[in-house]
Symmetry: D2
Subunit: 310 residues, 4 copies
């Protein structure tokens, strides 16, 4: 078998403070497609090229942030095995099983809290309700796209305290590779880790920081640098709060722009990067090069990028 | 574990009729980097973003074509296991072990002939001599690139007779997914298969055709549609024989151009496509849509694309 | 004064055989904006970045082709002067004045037939009803664009017999520069002329050919090579008859694609090119290089491009 | 005649404090081509697509800044006429004639100081030594380009006090159009003017500011947004001081990046914009929209952009 175990980040659940404004942002500006609402008031979205039923979920709350990320695994057997491995790893807390159907079109999920304080889930089943172009003689892109129109939900960047524990969990228990890292000082103390369960440069990334369970951004995939420009234009046309960009990351080489949803949750749309393999040497950035590592062109960090999290 | 088993096409060995002209083509026009020559006269190349020692090998011969493709697997244990599985599959012939070092910087390889007549190899070890930008605070691209400058060797498209046997071998024994296929007639007889062992849309593809062991093209990865234009310009500036492009494939959505090396082996450089997952529904093309499936804009095949193979 | 005399091709009037299909093509596929219809049944369009009231006019007729092109000049005085110069040049026939208002929002036009048999007009006034983004703190592009969404009508390419007479008229009487030309044989017999009244590489072009008054294509301006790809995709999605592309012209360096409206009139959308100046040396192409001159990548002409005109 | 009078900015002469470092910057990083040095130690450059002998001149000096800009006019007769008009305008000071040959391959120049304190020249003759691709069956781009490799010197942005006088001179005497402007307050006091003598969005621009004769930047033309990214990457790879970008201007719609030469003179490379005509309505920006007018995505000015001039 080639791609096995954990396949991808399958959903992210975000808290928003004004659901209507948030829905308008994620549909009209970002360009996701609303696919369902449930009796808890949650709104479910997908990007146009995703097969599974949903990938982004919004929930009305008093403060912004991320409730949890869900990871799709390759089979029910893998779900059982990994749930056991995670539980027995000594690295997680608050494990539980969420019943099938709690997310629409989705099987049971194994939930746990990782050392950085973030809640993660594993699940094996979500109905493949299909992408917008279908699978029979498909066009390369669908008509009627709106806004930035990313093809996929791609990854999250999260801030938390016990980076070492979380990296250990993802690499040793869940089988991720460490694609890139940032290390500080002569002891090469790791302060950031970019983790991949695939050929993508990152499926999730973590930055070391004193507080548990902070959310930096959810990222969505564009095709190319021109789409990053179009996204930047949309940000200005719609008076969306921008963080930084268009620019390139040194880390991952991605071409990127950051902005905020109406509740202050940071979004990224990006293109580019490279094909990662588990036998590729890890790319290491030293903290004296943190500027170009993060924002390759400015070669310095903006204050908001480091400090604003939800 | 996430990406396991067969990781990627690790090398392709091509026969060329004038080695000097071929080396000039693959370095100056295509833009690969020559990394070694051996006492058999073989010349070894890599693309600038590849970690392993080599990916393309040229051999002087009386006629053009492909000697074999080699596939890197994730470990020595996997190599032993898959070699056994392949041998016992009843699907291959002419199995043998090639000693470590027969390719420079490369461990032992298990060689076999697949139902379509092509020779394939599995291997677990090749020295990671490193990509051109290194792994410590790397720049996004190296100075001194020449020609089209693809970042990677990506895949081959091969023509052969027993398509069903080969697809069975790759999917049932080697763990590949069938990303896309072309079917003919009301019986939906499969005439083409695009196979992935990764998140790439294809790592190898096969077209059904009466003769065994024919080579259609080796393909190399560019970053974007502007690089396809630059490649097209280079083809004209250097009076390289063009096949077709720039255009888009319906299959894979890739943005592409085809041309020939001085011995008549077809090369492709391409960008784009999408992220494949093993749980993604297979895209099916029907033969009445074969035109747009192959060349999405022209919506008809050119004669050379179908008939010229080496 | 800097840009004086003839400013630009201000309108082109095309004959179509099914007006409804044509309107659908020019609005939904090409992406022009319908701005008016008149009591003769003519439909008037503009591109989104044009200030003047209209640039493209469609007229129902029994056969396709071009009725006439209109050229905006810088002032009423220039109109009178150039009308006199043209009339007295001995190069034109069938001169007449068309009354103000015959085109909506347009002043009087001086009409004449040039040596290649095409009907041309000069006019000094057309109401600046404004582009889609306006002129006060404008956004870089408007919302609600459809189809290929060119920013401007750019030029026409016309086929006719007396190329020398037409070039003489445009260069010696109307003040155009000869940006590029194609010459045949050792006598360097001119067979094509690309003429500019501006910094654009061409505002009109002519190919020598036995019949008078033939229309090859009307061309519209895109921003970049990615928009050419999007246009190519739209051509396939909508099953529009394609001529050739995406490719680059050797002549003008433009990035281009050609297709046909439902009546068989050829359209081009293109990007790129260079900044022309009247003191720039004329670029000369010899007929042995006609292939790359026209289609730089294929380096050969397709039959339709040479023979299909309306 | 179509493009008449003042044709274009034909040269800019910059003062640099370390000639060797400056030459390295303008050749290796920016990618101009050195064409001559003279006995005064001046170094002359051109961009690869320029026909005339030179467009950029560097002179060793104790402080950075611009000595003068030179404007090519269409003929010797125009030169005499405009020299007289300028002299008699009451708007300029320090008029003089510079002898032919003082710049290599260049005819006599009429020099004068404009109300904002900048020195300008008009000239009618500079040898067309040719662009890098030639004019007979040319390739679309030459081999051997280095760095950002702009095709042309495009314009300068200058800071000075008497903006009204300078605009009056350029529009009423030299025939320029006012493409875009920024106005402040309810009285719509003009604080910036973007002036065109062509179809380019600007050939020179002025910002009102208390001191005379300040230089903000010299700008060079790239083909597209990907070349802006490549330029941004080169800026980082070479540790060149960056000002801001990649981004889009609201004014002109251009896609842009700013950086500094080793002496602190600001350079811009940009792509995009639109086709300007003298009958196009002037685009007006109000000072409450100055942020997006200058940097469309950030929607606020950086301090350096406003205050750092040479």
């Amino acid at each position: 078998m080639a791609l096995t175990g954990v396949l991808r980040p399958g959903h992210v659940v975000l808290r928003v403070m004004d659901l209507d404004k948030a829905v308008a942002h994620y549909t009209d500006a970002l360009g996701l497609i609303e696919v369902a609402r449930d009796d808890k008031g949650r709104v479910f979205f997908k990007a146009w090229d995703e097969a599974d039923h949903h990938s982004v979920v919004l929930r009305q709350a008093d403060e912004a942030g991320m409730d949890y990320m869900g990871w799709k695994v390759d089979s029910a057997a893998t779900l059982e095995r990994l749930a056991g491995d995670v539980k027995n790893s000594g690295l997680v807390t608050d494990t539980s099983w969420i019943a099938a159907g709690e997310h629409p079109h989705t099987g049971k999920r194994f939930r746990f809290t990782i050392p950085t304080g973030h809640v993660m889930e594993l699940y094996a089943q979500k109905d493949a309700t299909g992408c917008s172009t279908g699978y029979l003689n498909p066009e390369p892109w669908p008509d009627g796209l709106k806004g930035m129109a990313p093809s996929r939900f791609d990854h999250c960047l999260l801030y938390g305290d016990d980076l070492d524990g979380t990296v250990k969990l993802f690499t040793e228990v869940l089988g991720f590779g460490l694609a890139e890292e940032v290390v500080a000082g002569p002891e090469k103390f790791r302060i950031a880790a970019f983790l991949s369960c695939s050929n993508k440069v990152h499926d999730v990334a973590f930055i070391r920081q004193p507080m548990k369970n902070k959310f930096h951004h959810a990222s969505f995939l564009l095709d190319n640098w021109y789409e990053v420009l179009k996204a930047a234009d949309i940000i200005s046309k719609r008076k969306i709060s921008i963080d930084l960009g268009p620019t390139r990351h040194g880390i991952t080489r991605g071409e990127t722009i950051y902005f905020f949803d109406p509740s202050g949750n940071r979004n990224e749309v990006f293109a580019g990067g490279y094909i990662y393999y588990p036998d590729k040497p890890t790319v290491t950035w030293t903290d004296d090069q943190l500027g170009p590592a993060i924002f390759y062109h400015d070669r310095k960090l903006n204050e908001a990028f480091l400090s604003v999290v939800t």
